[in-house]
């Protein structure tokens, strides 16, 4: 099943390249829908929900001399992200029908190649496949930005490529070192299996070595997330990418970073994580506030949403490094929610841009009268993104904050963060409400302002077309479903999260007992 998920999009690439240009979008649409169907079938057949077990496994012999065997498989966390990916892809394809008008076969080919790579990352059970796919996601995105992007696309694509490529090379060096260190412990037998290497990293490395490993992983994945101060590629890449590119970037590619932190850094270097979590949390909080403040002064709507990703992903990181079940579950839920709501916002801005050819809030405004349906969706997704209770954003944001709050010395869960972290990060929620609502106020409501020569209604109706509504409705449905019933994700992943955290119990228990002795309370 895992192989099918990775190979189907690749087969789709071949089909798209061989089909005539006007059929490309149909072929791509069908492929992504079939992949979505397969992933649903895989999820239904998966017996690891609520358990920490792996399923859908398979393996393939590769460079055996160097210990390299390709292994695939999924646990509940990776399957959630697989579903997010396969769910967003058909929408991304559908959303590009009118916005991309040239070099169609290449465009849809790259999109499908990107899907294969992203699924490969989430389904990898060995470091080599993980790294190959992690790295290969750059190529399609590089071309999508560089060919189909906005005016500044050349700079954006190269900056995106160089930042992430450099970061992941350092991660690769760390992986190789880890594999070598494991081979030393195992009498020269090489392996790149994630499970075996995690075991070795926990038991075989001392705190200093784990610290170096943490640093290298933080550089690679931190660039991808992105964590302040290595976030500067993101606003540029998101702004210049075509709509579907921004959606995939925000929806899935950023999650590769957080997934990497969850899958590698947390289980592999617990001692170092406990030592450095406060620092990383501070970086996350700086990202939250700094991103939010920049959003406040943006006049470019797309850039505003891009910076809001920097801010939102800060919460995700904060949840991860709270090191308790609430935080991790909240963080995983946040990955999904951010993909849905920010993806939808990029779609909406793309739809506006297609009609008015501007993203400048000073040039366009008061669109509610002309595009009521668009305005409804805009307000809906902004509220989801702000964290209105009842919609999806609220649950995960709240879980991350409360997890950080509780992760203090005195909290219910022993941890290394505390109320101050949560209190300061919570300012980000207020800022988010301000900048997003200001944006809505200016472009949706207020006096009507239209750039000269627009709207461009050659291909598009004044308000949203049926196709565009079809793109947005599934996203909106899931925003409500996950807002009301977040348990479907939280319960499904709770056992896997508990397994990840098991290694922290002794360490944090010690830390706590060292600090407050007999005051230990609450269930870890």
């Amino acid at each position: 099943m895992s192989w099918l998920l990775i190979l189907l999009p690749l087969a789709g690439v071949v089909a798209v390249v061989l089909s005539p240009a006007r059929m490309a979008k149909i072929v791509a649409m069908l492929t992504t829908l079939v992949v979505f169907g397969v992933s649903i079938a895989a999820a239904v057949g998966f017996d690891g929900w609520g358990k920490g077990t792996w399923g859908l496994t398979g393996s393939f012999d590769w460079l055996s001399r160097y210990g390299i065997e390709i292994q695939v498989g999924a646990d509940s966390v990776s399957l959630v992200l697989v579903l997010l990916t396969t769910f967003l892809m058909p929408l991304a394809v559908l959303g590009s029908f009118t916005s991309v008008r040239e070099r169609l076969r290449e465009y849809y080919g790259w999109l499908l190649g990107l899907e294969a790579a992203m699924l490969g990352v989430f389904l990898a059970k060995d470091l080599v496949l993980f790294y190959v796919c992690f790295e290969f996601t750059l190529v399609p995105m590089f071309f999508i930005i560089a060919i189909y992007g906005g005016a500044n696309r050349a700079k954006a694509s190269v900056k995106f490529m160089i930042y992430t490529f450099t970061g992941s090379l350092i991660t690769l060096a760390a992986f190789l070192w880890l594999a070598w260190s494991a081979s030393q412990a195992a009498d020269g037998a090489w392996t790149f299996s994630i499970a075996a290497l995690t075991e070795h990293a926990v038991s075989g490395l001392d705190a200093t070595q784990q610290g170096w490993l943490l640093l290298a992983l933080l550089i690679g994945f931190g660039v991808k997330v992105p964590i302040f101060p290595v976030h500067t590629w993101l606003p540029l890449a998101h702004t210049e990418a075509p709509t579907a590119g921004s959606v995939i970037l925000a929806g899935v590619l950023l999650k590769l970073g957080t997934y990497g932190l969850y899958r590698f850094m947390l289980p592999m270097c617990p001692e170092a994580v406990v030592t450095w979590a406060p620092l990383i949390a501070v970086l996350a909080i700086i990202g939250i506030l700094y991103g939010a403040l920049i959003c406040w002064v943006q006049t470019d709507v797309k850039k505003l949403v891009a910076y809001s990703s920097v801010s939102h992903l800060g919460f995700c990181i904060l949840g991860l490094f709270a090191l308790n079940p609430m935080g991790l579950e909240g963080s995983i839920l946040y990955m999904v929610n951010h993909g849905l709501s920010t993806g939808a916002l990029f779609f909406l801005i793309g739809m506006m841009y297609e009609r008015y050819h501007t993203r400048d809030m000073n040039a366009v405004g008061g669109l509610a009268g002309r595009m009521p349906i668009w305005a409804c969706f805009m307000v809906f997704f902004v509220l989801a993104s702000v964290g209105l209770p009842g919609l999806n954003g609220f649950v995960s944001e709240f879980l991350c904050l409360i997890a950080a709050f509780a992760a203090g010395d005195m909290g219910a869960y022993p941890g290394v963060l505390g109320p101050w972290y949560a209190a300061i990060a919570a300012l980000g929620m207020i800022f988010a409400a301000m900048y997003l609502l200001i944006m809505v106020g200016r472009i949706v409501f207020g006096p009507e302002k239209l750039p000269p020569g627009t709207p461009d209604e050659e291909l598009l109706p004044q308000d949203l077309s049926v196709r565009e509504i079809t793109v947005l409705v599934p996203l909106a449905v899931f925003c409500i479903v996950l807002g009301v019933q977040p348990w479907i994700v939280i319960d499904g992943t709770s056992a896997a999260v508990a397994d990840t955290l098991a290694v922290y119990e002794p360490i944090l228990g010690q830390a706590k007992s060292a600090v407050q002795g007999a005051l230990v309370g609450g269930a870890p």
């Binding site: 012999d61 460079l63 060919i147 020269g188």
Partner: protein
Amino acid sequence: MTEKLIFVIPEVILLAGVVAVAILGLVRSASLRSKVPWVAMLFITAAGVSIPFVFTDARIAESTLLLPGLGRPMGLVSCVVALCLVLMTVGRIDRRYERAIAAGRMPFDPLRSNRGEYYVFFLLSLAGLMLTCTASDLIWLFLALELTSLPTYVMVAMSRGSKRAQEAAMKYFYLGAMSAAMFLYGFALLYGATGTLELSAMRDVLAAQAADGGIGILAVVGMMLALLGIGFKLAAAPMHLYAGDVYEGAAVHVTAVLGFVPKAAGAVAFMLLLSTIGWFDGTPLPLPILIMLWVMAVLTMTLGNIGALLQRSVKRMFAYSSIAHSGYILVGIIAGPGLGFNAVVLYLFVYGLASTGAFAVLASLQRADREIEAVEDLAGLRQKHPGISAAMAITSGSLLGFPPLLGFWGKLALFVAGVASGHVVLVIIAGVNSAISAWYYLRLVGLPLMSEPTERSETIDRFDAPWARIAAIGLAASMVVLPIFLAGIQDETAVERPAVENNAVSMQDSSVQDEAAGS
């Protein structure tokens, strides 16, 4: 003695090819003359096919050569890459002259025809490379290295009519002669220090010295001189300075040869020489030599990549990038036998195909019957020549080492070997260098595929003969397809045959553990 004779059968086949090609190149009939490259390929194929029969596992196991496992994988790699190198030259050598003859403007004059000669020199150089792999003593090694290099001096000089080619050949020749003098001096000192020319005997003598209180200074100095001199073949710093001028001055098909044949010979010579002085019984390399190799590797990678960043001429850019690749190869050499040498041979294969592919791309383009020069000439290539520009992008991506292309796996093997031998810092430096190289390789991906054509690049045309194009696109396809067959490729390029392999690995590990214990 019979063993030596059997092991040179592939080279004998190549020499027979030399004779056949030399004669065929002078035939009056134009259609027969045009078959010369195909005949050369035939003989290369025959040599390649003979290799598995010559280097059987039994013969390798009995051999007294220093690295008996080297001949087979290197021979196969050399033959495969050589076939591609010849394929891209079909219809190139002497093409203006042949055109003039066909149009009846000139008579056929054997003295003016270069066609046969080019392939004669190429086959000789290839034979030199393969002889290097089976070298049993210093004299043989010296002669084989010179047999590799001498024909390439002539190939550069006669590759095109312009003065630049001749200037390049002069520089190449004089600097090459200086480097030969250097490593010959080194060889002499090694002989003085050990009293033998046989590489295997030399290893035993040095092992005895090492057990008896350390390898003598004479041998260490001799080895350092020899390595520095042979560094010229690898284009390794500080002997890399010729590369820019020579690569740019030579015609592109000759540049492609320079990018692989001498480099491979140099890498093989490095492996052979270093195996005499280190790694026996788990002994590490003497510290001065290790330091020198480290410095060489770091300088070579860094200067190569930074140099490539600064170039505007696409051939110079490839010249400097090939210097950088020598630096990566040195990482594998430092890693030593077992994983390290396996990775070096695998990398030579991967790099040879990718670099030949990149040069084949350049060879398949022309402007008014001349080669293209500036990187900007590639701008917007995609609109007129989609296949060629895709080949450029894929071979550049492979040279950059981007997964999942073939180049990535070669680099991964090198890095694994480097880390396994305990040189983590060196591997990190190599990783940073890969990141630097992304800047200029991305230009080669981006310009053809994404830029708009400029006025200058509009005038770029396809080369008349299709073979360079076919080679370029075929090699680019192989970058995508060959990773599927990596399991088989790694076995074929392993320096030790499977039976002996385990010993090498355990020896490798024990040396690592010794090092770890020492530190």
